[in-house]
């Protein structure tokens, strides 16, 4: 055989005859033989080629029998129900605000908007569940129950050896194992290239130490303590035993993370048991104390003040702080006292801060004690 064939331009030779369609089976079974087999036989023949043997078929009720008619009725009923629910969904969905009441809130005080979503969910859900039940019944009652077994094959030694040889000969041909210089260059290039690809992620990095944002809050000396509506607070405004949340008087002050402060007025009996930590003797004003509202555990606002026990509870992880002992944690996972804001009263008789918190507000972190 010549290696070139001039009747087929561009061809470099080789056989010009189509191979057998898919190998084995076409040679073993002629079209005539296949034509002589019925559908079940063909099905089983194909299954055998796939390593599947049908062991046992439990037939369904004979067609036309009472059981068969009943089974068909059941399956049909579920599919019909599914269709009905689908139509119900469409009517409710499209009909609201057309021939049915409007679905939108608060379309006067009708109940339709309250049941609109439940009705949609119920009808859509029922339609799909009915289809599911219909299908299950179809498989269980109308299909013959077949038990089949399929062989499981382990890996082939032949495949492993030949594939390995192909891979390794490719590697040998590339010469990489012996071209040391090229190989090492590829490693280094690959490493540099990989780092280059992820380098733009550097844009995410922000310096947490620039301007000490973690160690400072908006509070400054002379800032008034204002309520959510911006009004300042006087010493006479609160009953003994009460707590009010106050904010720094800055733009968006009531939405700052580390700004909220609890202004607490102690009862006389609490004043008797008051323990002021060293160095904070002048932080309070009379029977008023101001503590950061941000939990030192995970940063939730500690909001629940139980004045009988002088405890403040964080609703997130149940840390409890005692306001008569410098808001030190007495139970739960928190480890640090709530930072105290030094306060006094200005010339006009309103509460003002005497400066920022002396320590970082909120959850603890690695270099918290070493901030500049």
């Amino acid at each position: 055989m010549t290696t070139t064939d001039h009747s087929r331009p561009g061809s470099a030779g080789g056989a010009d005859v189509p191979g057998p369609l898919h190998g084995g089976p076409d040679d073993d079974h002629t079209p005539q033989q296949l034509a002589a087999m019925d559908r079940t036989e063909l099905d089983r023949l194909g299954a055998r080629y796939d390593g599947v043997e049908v062991l046992h078929v439990e037939p369904v009720a004979p067609p036309g029998s009472a059981v068969d008619r009943q089974n068909t009725r059941k399956v049909t009923l579920w599919f019909a129900l599914a269709g009905v629910f689908a139509v119900v969904f469409l009517v409710i969905y499209a009909g609201s605000g057309w021939f049915l009441p409007d679905w939108q809130w608060p379309a006067s005080s009708n109940t339709w908007s309250a049941i609109f979503t439940p009705l949609l969910g119920a009808s859509m859900g029922l339609a799909m569940i009915c289809i599911g039940i219909g299908l299950v019944l179809y498989v269980k009652k109308l299909l013959p129950h077949e038990t089949a077994v399929q062989d499981k094959h382990d890996g082939s030694h032949f495949d492993r050896v030949t594939t390995g040889a192909t891979l390794m000969s490719g590697l040998d041909n590339s010469g990489l194992p012996r071209r040391k210089m090229l190989r090492r260059t590829l490693y280094l290039m690959g490493a540099a290239f990989g780092v280059m690809l992820i380098a733009p992620l550097g844009g995410f990095i922000k310096d947490p130490n620039k301007g000490n944002p973690l160690g400072t809050t908006p509070w400054r000396e002379g800032m008034r303590l204002v309520r959510e509506d911006g009004t300042p607070v006087r010493p006479g405004d609160q009953e003994p035993g009460s707590l009010a949340t106050v904010f720094p008087p800055v733009e968006g002050g009531d939405h700052t993370v580390d700004g909220p402060v609890m202004l607490i007025r102690l009862r006389p009996d609490q004043m008797e048991t008051l323990v002021t930590p060293a160095g904070r003797e002048d932080y309070g004003y009379g029977d008023y104390l101001a503590y950061s509202k941000v939990c030192t555990h995970a940063g939730c606002p500690v909001s629940l003040y139980e004045q009988e026990t002088s405890r403040i509870l964080c609703p997130c992880h149940q840390s409890q702080f005692d306001v008569t002992q410098g808001a030190k944690p007495v139970f739960g996972p928190a480890t640090r006292s709530l930072p105290q804001l030094p306060i006094t009263v200005d010339d006009e008789g309103y509460f003002v801060a005497r400066g920022d918190f002396p320590e970082p507000v909120g959850p603890s972190f690695w270099n918290m004690g070493r901030l500049g």
Binding site: P20, H22, D27, P31, L34, A35, G46, D50, V52, L55, S65, V67, Y93, W103, W105, P106, T117, L120, G121, A122, M124, G125, L126, A127, M128, I129, I131, G132, V139, E146, A148, V149, Q150, F204, K206, D207, P208, N209, L214, T256, V257, A298, G299, C300, P301, S303, L313, P315, C316, Q318, G332, P333, T335, G362, P363, S364, F365, W366, N367, G369
Partner: protein, 560 residues
């Protein structure tokens, strides 16, 4: 040439046949398609648990795509002016406003939103139950360790995806959760503050986090999930499904239904049922009513706030961990690190490494395709029960404030229950499970040896009363059964071995002839013999098995 002697096959005559011929002529798919349709799937309800996860993921993809058309992942400050009167005029983020719009101003939007949320809960729940099934039946053993690792990765990603998802509306509850998340970042030793500033693009909450979580939630994590699920299924198909031991089932075959039509029918049915369940829950059972919570404000929090169920154990860990802050020469490691990052880290780490741990401890490196019953592997089962107990204690502790309130208990007592329970209850669970496993094993052997209790009491001539036992197989001269335990469930009631006939069908009146049912039953009794003969043909015919099926678990002839 050989092919010339074979006459060309006839062209198909029907329209469908013609179309199929045209397709196959171009794509040559008939062979692979037949192999797929013929693939055998074993039949057991517990094999459907993973499918529930798959189908709820489909619900999530569809409903989630719908929601993206309306959701605005921006923290831009807006004044609400929508349909929900109580919040009108309030300043909030665009994310929260658009979530309100989905709930109140998009026709059917609330249904889809709630469906999405319910499907997410179901997704994680079904992954967990699927994981327990795989664990307790030993389906993770060689050669399926890879799929176990992929499964653990899917679970962790599902948790992150869920967290990112319920944070997006930027309501008071999710904002509080995000704040706790930020504290966990901050607690990481050495690089904590850098991680925190990198994630939020500055101090919490900044103006970027919702947009970043959004792209994570709708693109990055779903893409990884989708790729891993595809890989998970490809490996499953390639390795073929495991099966429980039983008649004719070996390490080298799969007994069950072919994909088409039986398995496909059942799987489609399950898809519709899962879909329907999500739709019904989404419509009928309110979930995450963000309009009642209000927009996020760092100064506010609601009492009794709870995350979605699958984050509960992380919260529980943070709640019960004692206030131990490490102070290393002025550097701090706060307790929230151990509670919220350490405990889940250990948990998922142990879970991921378990196949390797078990392989090292048992020195079992063989491939396994037959599953184990939990009772037959008491150590593994007890370890699982132990881990599950620890998880449940953490999970209960995540909701301990709600439990304390509803049952009028002391909150501090609930926390102490969690702290002590986490240490004490798992070993107790281990011991109890171990005893239960041994008891069940012994009972199986007892029934195999002495037969099923029939409930028939007989008085012997000398006055002794005995209960008649039905042997399950051939017996020796002492009346002891000779069946060996084969790892399959042992019948323990007479009805399970045909003690009772089946009922005549028909609801109002019988639809079958009682006589015909009787004849069928007799046929079936003979059919048992026929089936046994059939079973001889089920062996692979491999020479290594001597061309005969294995005799595992089959009754042996009584020996003298």
């Amino acid at each position: 040439m050989a092919t010339d002697t074979v006459p060309a096959p006839e062209k198909p005559a029907t329209l469908a046949g013609k179309a199929a011929f045209e397709v196959d002529d171009r794509l040559i798919v008939a062979g692979p398609l037949r192999r797929t349709l013929n693939k055998v799937f074993p039949d057991h309800w517990s094999f459907l648990l993973g499918e529930i996860a798959l189908y709820s993921f489909i619900v999530l993809l569809l409903s989630g795509t719908y929601l993206t058309f309306f959701f605005d992942a921006s923290m831009r400050e807006v004044i609400y002016d929508g349909s929900y009167a109580p919040l009108r005029g309030l300043s909030m983020s665009a994310a929260y406003e658009s979530t309100l719009d989905i709930s109140f101003d998009v026709r059917g939007g609330l249904l889809i939103r709630q469906m999405h949320h319910w499907a997410a809960l179901l997704f994680v729940a079904s992954i967990c139950v699927h994981l327990l099934r795989i664990f307790f039946t030993g389906a993770f053993r060689r050669p399926r360790e890879t799929n176990w690792f992929i499964g653990i990765a899917l679970l962790v990603l599902a948790l992150l995806e869920g967290f990112a998802g319920y944070t997006l509306p930027d309501d008071l509850l999710s904002g509080g959760g995000l704040r706790i998340f930020s504290a966990v970042f901050l607690s990481i030793p050495v690089i904590g503050t850098w991680v925190y500033f990198t994630v939020f693009g500055g101090d919490f909450p900044g103006e970027l986090i919702i947009g970043r979580l959004y792209i994570l939630h709708v693109l990055i994590i779903p893409a990884i999930l989708l790729a891993l699920i595809a890989l998970h299924l490809l490996i499953l198909v390639k390795q073929k499904h495991t099966q429980f031991p039983g008649p004719g089932r070996t390490e080298h075959n799969v007994v069950g239904n072919r994909l088409f039509p039986t398995f496909a029918g059942k799987a489609t049915a399950l898809l519709f049922i899962v879909f329907g369940l999500c739709a019904a829950l989404g419509g009928l059972v309110q979930i995450n009513p963000i309009w009642l919570l209000g927009p996020y404000n760092p100064a506010q929090v609601t009492a009794g706030s709870q995350p979605d169920w699958y984050i509960g154990f992380v919260d529980g860990g943070a709640r019960i961990f004692p206030p131990w802050e490490l102070d290393l020469w002025g550097y701090h490691i706060p307790p929230v690190l151990w509670g919220a990052l350490g405990i889940p880290g250990v948990m998922f780490g142990a879970l991921a490494l378990y196949p390797i741990i078990e392989r090292v401890l048992t020195k079992d490196t063989a491939s396994h395709h037959l599953l184990q019953r939990p009772r037959d592997v008491p150590v593994r089962t007890s370890l699982g029960a132990m881990a599950l107990t620890a998880y449940i204690v953490l999970w209960i502790s995540g909701g301990n404030d709600v439990i304390a309130e509803k049952f009028d208990l002391s909150l501090n007592a609930m926390i102490w229950f969690g702290r002590i329970g986490l240490l004490v209850l798992p070993p107790i669970a281990y011991w109890a499970t171990y005893r239960i496993c041994l008891g069940l094993e012994r009972h199986d052997r007892e029934v195999l040896e002495h037969g099923i209790e029939t409930g028939v009491i007989r008085r012997l001539p000398h006055g002794e009363f005995i209960e008649v036992h039905q042997p399950l197989g051939p017996v020796d001269e002492h009346g002891h059964g000779q069946l060996a335990y084969g790892g399959a469930s042992v019948p323990k009631k007479m009805n399970q071995v045909g003690g009772a006939r089946r009922a005549i069908k028909g609801f109002f009146k019988p639809v079958e002839e009682p006589a015909e049912v009787q004849r069928q039953a007799e046929l079936e009794a003979r059919g048992l013999e026929a089936e046994r003969a059939d079973r001889e043909l089920t062996g692979s015919g491999r020479p290594s098995e001597g061309g005969r099926p294995s005799d595992g678990g089959r009754p042996q002839d009584p020996r003298d």
